[in-house]
C-alpha cells in the first residue's frame, strides 16, 4: 500500500501597490487569456498543484459595507499535495516568472536584486493566512495519482471496447483478462499497489455526536437567544436575480462555462456582533469535523460535484471568503446547495449581513430560493486567473478511477466483477 498524500489549502493575501493595480490586472489578464485559449504551459510544471486562482479583492468586491477598512489586495490560493515547504519551493521555482511579475505589483515583495528562492518563499509565507474549513472531494489523491489513474481507466476502456467478447465470457474472466493486459504493460506497474482511500472515521464522529448531545442544552439556549435577539430583527431581503447589476453579472459569466468545471469565489461580511461571530466559528468547527471525518467520499453535504472548497475568515475574523472548484455550472451548483444542503449553508452564512432572513437557522435562508440565489450572485467576486490540471475529469470520475485501480487487483466474484465492469 502506498502512503496517502494529504491535500492542503494555501492562501496568500497581500496588499497591492496603488499605482500597480492596472499593471497587475493586465498581467493576470494575459495569463487568463492563455488558460482559456489552451496555450498556458507554466502551471502544470508544478507537480503538487491541483487548483490555483488569483483574485483581486478591493472595496468594490464587497457587496456589503466592510466592518474593518479594506485596501486593494491580491488573493493567491492553491490546493496542493503534501508538504507546504516543498509546494512553496515548487511555486517560486517553476512559476518564478509569474510570481515575480505578479508580486512586483504588491507591497513588500523583494526587490529585483534580492530575489532568491528563499526570499520569495519568505514573502509568500509572511502573507499567507489560515483556512478555517477545507473540503477535498478525493482525499489522498495527488495530482500525479489522478492523472495516472485516469490513464489506467482510459487504457482499460479502450481494451474492453477493442475486444469482441464472446457472449459466454463471464465477468470474472473479463476482469482477469483486463488484469493480464495491465500486467503486460510496464507503464502501469504502479497500479499493482493498492491506493489507500480514507474511510469515514466513525470514532471521531461518535465523539463529536456525544459532544453535541452534551452541549444540547447550550445549543438550544443559543438558538433561542439568536432567534429572539437577532433573527427576529433581521431585515427581510428582497433582492432577486433580475435586479443585480448587469455589468457585474456579465463579468462573472465571461469566465464561466469555458470548461466542464467552474470556480466560485465569494466574499461576505460577518454580522458585527460577538454572538454571530461565535456562531460562525462553531459552524466552521462543525464543518471541519464533518469534512475531515464524514465527507470523505466525494460529496460535500451530499453535493456530488465539488473537487475542493474552503472557507477563510480574515480581516480580524470580520470577513469571510468562500472558494469552490466544481463540476457543472453556476445554476446547477447553487441549486444543489439549496436542494441537498440548504441547512448547512444557512447555518454558516446566516451569520453574514444581508443573508436572506432565517428562523432558528433552519428555515428561510438558503431555502428562500429567489433571494438566496441573488445573495450568492451578488456576493460573488470575479476570479482573474483560474487553473485546473484536470478540467475534463469530474470528481465522480476521479473517485471512480481509484476504485477501478483497486478493484482490478481484487479477486472478485461474478457479481462483483459485473459491478467492476459497470464502472466503464
Amino acid at each position: 500500500m502506498v502512503d496517502m498524500i494529504k491535500q492542503h489549502p494555501l492562501i496568500i493575501l497581500s496588499p497591492v501597490k496603488k499605482d500597480m493595480l492596472e499593471t497587475l490586472d493586465k498581467r493576470l489578464h494575459v495569463i487568463r487569456e492563455k488558460l482559456q485559449g489552451g496555450t498556458e504551459t507554466e502551471f502544470k510544471k508544478v507537480p503538487t498543484l491541483h487548483y490555483g486562482r488569483f483574485v483581486i479583492l478591493n472595496r468594490d468586491s464587497f457587496r456589503d459595507e466592510p466592518t474593518v477598512p479594506v485596501g486593494t489586495r491580491l488573493i493567491f490560493s492553491t490546493n496542493f499535495d503534501g508538504d507546504k515547504e516543498n509546494h512553496l519551493t515548487e511555486l517560486v521555482t517553476h512559476l518564478e516568472k509569474y510570481i515575480d511579475d505578479i508580486y512586483e505589483c504588491c507591497e513588500d515583495y523583494p526587490e529585483a536584486g534580492s530575489r532568491t528562492t528563499e526570499s520569495r518563499k519568505t514573502y509568500l509565507k509572511k502573507y499567507s493566512i489560515k483556512t478555517s474549513a477545507f473540503f477535498n472531494g478525493a482525499p489522498g489523491r495527488s495530482v500525479q495519482q489522478i492523472h495516472k489513474e485516469a490513464s489506467l481507466r482510459d487504457h482499460i476502456w479502450s481494451y474492453i471496447n477493442k475486444n469482441k467478447w464472446n457472449g459466454t465470457t463471464t465477468a470474472v474472466e473479463i476482469h482477469r483478462a483486463i488484469r493480464n493486459e495491465i500486467d503486460s504493460k510496464s507503464e502501469f506497474e504502479w497500479s499493482k499497489q493498492k491506493a489507500e482511500v480514507q474511510g469515514i472515521k466513525w470514532l471521531n464522529l461518535i465523539a463529536y455526536g456525544l459532544l453535541l448531545i452534551a452541549a444540547l442544552p447550550l445549543v438550544i439556549i443559543g438558538a433561542l437567544y439568536l432567534f429572539l435577539f437577532h433573527e427576529l430583527w433581521n431585515k427581510k431581503q428582497t433582492l432577486t436575480l433580475s435586479q443585480l447589476d448587469d455589468r457585474k453579472v456579465n463579468k462573472l459569466k465571461e469566465v464561466e462555462d469555458l470548461f466542464p468545471q467552474n470556480q466560485f469565489t465569494q466574499v461576505a461580511v460577518l454580522k458585527p456582533n460577538f454572538i454571530r461571530r461565535l456562531n460562525f466559528q462553531i459552524w466552521m468547527l462543525r464543518t471541519r469535523v464533518l469534512a475531515n471525518n464524514v465527507f470523505v467520499h466525494g460529496k460535500l453535504l451530499n453535493i456530488p460535484t465539488i473537487h475542493f472548497a474552503r472557507w477563510v475568515l480574515f480581516d480580524k475574523n470580520r470577513h469571510v471568503l468562500f472558494f469552490s472548484n466544481f463540476d457543472g455550472n453556476w445554476q446547477q451548483y447553487l441549486g444543489d446547495f439549496i436542494d441537498q444542503s440548504g441547512w448547512g449553508l444557512t447555518g454558516i452564512f446566516s451569520n453574514t449581513v444581508n443573508f436572506p432572513k432565517t428562523k432558528f437557522m433552519i428555515t428561510g435562508g438558503a431555502y428562500d430560493e429567489e433571494h438566496f440565489l441573488a445573495w450568492s450572485r451578488s456576493t460573488q467576486v470575479p476570479t482573474q486567473v483560474w487553473y485546473c490540471p484536470y478540467p475534463h475529469l469530474s470528481i465522480k470520475n476521479i473517485n471512480n478511477n481509484t476504485k477501478i485501480r483497486n478493484e482490478l487487483r481484487m479477486d472478485l466474484n461474478e457479481e462483483q466483477a459485473k459491478a467492476f465492469l459497470k464502472r466503464f
Binding site: W157, T240, S242, N397, K418
Partner: protein, 476 residues
Amino acid sequence: MTPLELSDIQAYLFKDYKEMGSSKYYLLQIKNARAAKEFLASIADDITHANASVNETSINIGFTSKGLIALGYNNEENMHSFSREFREGMVSAHRQRLLGDFDSSDPSKWQWGGPNNEQIDIMLMVFGKNESVAENYFHRLKQKFEPGLSVVHILDGRPLPKDREHFGFRDGISQPVIKGSNTTPAGNNDDINAGEFVLGYKNEYDVYPDAPLLKVAQGNSRLLPNNPGGYEDNSGKPFKDIGRNGTYFVLRQLEQNVNGYWSFIKKQTIDTNGNPNNQEATKIAAKMMGRWPSGAPLVLDPDKDPGGDSDENSFSYRSKDPEGEKCPFGSHIRRMNPRDQFEESPESVSLKLTRRHRIIRRVRSYGEDFIGSAENHKPNGEVGLLFGCFNANISKQFEFIQYTWANSPKFKRLYDDPDPIIGVRECPATGVKQNFTIPQSTVNRVIPNMQSFVTVKGGAYFFFPSVSAIKFLSTI
C-alpha cells in the same frame, strides 16, 4: 393552493392544439409603436385564454425583450425587472456556451433570431383547424396590424404526424400537469406547482418565481394586479405585477438530419458481409431515445417494440432499472426526466429535484410529414421541429436541462457521453470524446464518435403575457 386565473392566462400553456391542423408563428417587427399598441388593444379580447372555447381558430402572442422596448415599455427599471435570460435573449457569448450553439448551429448562421437577422419584436401564433382557415384568419389580422407591424419571418408548423417526430419516435408523452388548472391530475410526479410555469404563483421551492414588476408608473397600471411576493416601493405601496398569469416561452427551430441519423446508426450494425441489420439499428436508436418508436418505454419493454402507439408514462427507474441495462443512463428521456433516480439522491429527493427542472413542451413539425425508420429515412427537403417550451425560470428550467442534463457529458456516472439526440457537438474540441454507452450485463457496449444530427436554425425567448398585461401594454 391558489386557483389559477385561467381566463387571464393564454391557452397555449395548457392546450397543445394537436387537433388544429395548422400552426403558424408570425415573427413580426414593430414599425410604428402607436399603431402596434392599437392593434394589441383591438385583439386583446380575442386572445385565446385557457377558459375560452376554441372552435376553428386560436391566437396567442409573445414578445421579445427588444419588442417590449420598441413598443414603448422602455423604462430601464421596469425592463430590468424581467429575468436576465429574457432580457439578453437567446444569443449571447455565454449563452452560446450553455446551449452549445456552435458550428452549423452558430447563431450567426441562423435564419431568424440571430445577430445577422432582422430584429423580432412580437410573435403572433395563429392556429387553425386547417391551413386555409389559419391563413384566412391571419389575413384578417394582418389588415389590422399592418399599420404598426411587418412580417419578418413565418414559421409554418403542423402537429407531428401521428404524434411522431421525424426520426420516427412518438413524442410529447411525458408532460407536466400544472396544479390548480382544470386539467386532470396525472397522479404522479408530473403534477407540478403552478409557479414553475406561471408567474405569480408559488413554485416547487414554495416561493414566488422572480417576476417583472412595474417599478416606475407607466400606462394604465390599474389593469395590473399587485404582486403577490410583497415587494413594495419606499412608501409601502405594493408594485404592480406585469408578470402575473404570464410566463416565458422558448422557441428553437431544430433541423433534423433524418438520413444522417439512421445511416449512422445502421453503420453500427453492419455484419461481416457489409449488410446493416434494421432490427438491430432500431434497437440502438431506441436505446438512444429511451423509448421505442411506438413510444413504449424501454424500462417496461426492454427487448422489443410492442408496436402500436403507446402513451405509457407511469414508470420509474430505481427499482426497475437501477443499472441502466434496459434504459441507458445516457439516453435522451432518462436525462430529460430522471424521475426517481436523480444522480445519487434517494427516491423522495430525486422526485423533488426532478420537479424543479421541468418544462412544458409545445412542439410542431415542419417540412414534409415524414416519419423516419431504419427502412425509410430519406425525406424530401428539410425537415425538423419547431421546439417550444414554457417555463417560469428560463435559467433553472430550459437552460439547465440543455446544459446540465443534455450537453454535459458527465451526467450521472458517465465520462464522455453527451445526450445522443440533442447534446452532441458537431466539431468537438481536440481530444474530446463523444460516446454513447449502452450498459449491458457484463461488458457495456459503446458507440464511439457520436455525430450531431440536429442543427439549430433559429431561436428566441419570448415573454408570454397575461391577457390583462396585453391590455396594459396597449396603454403604455
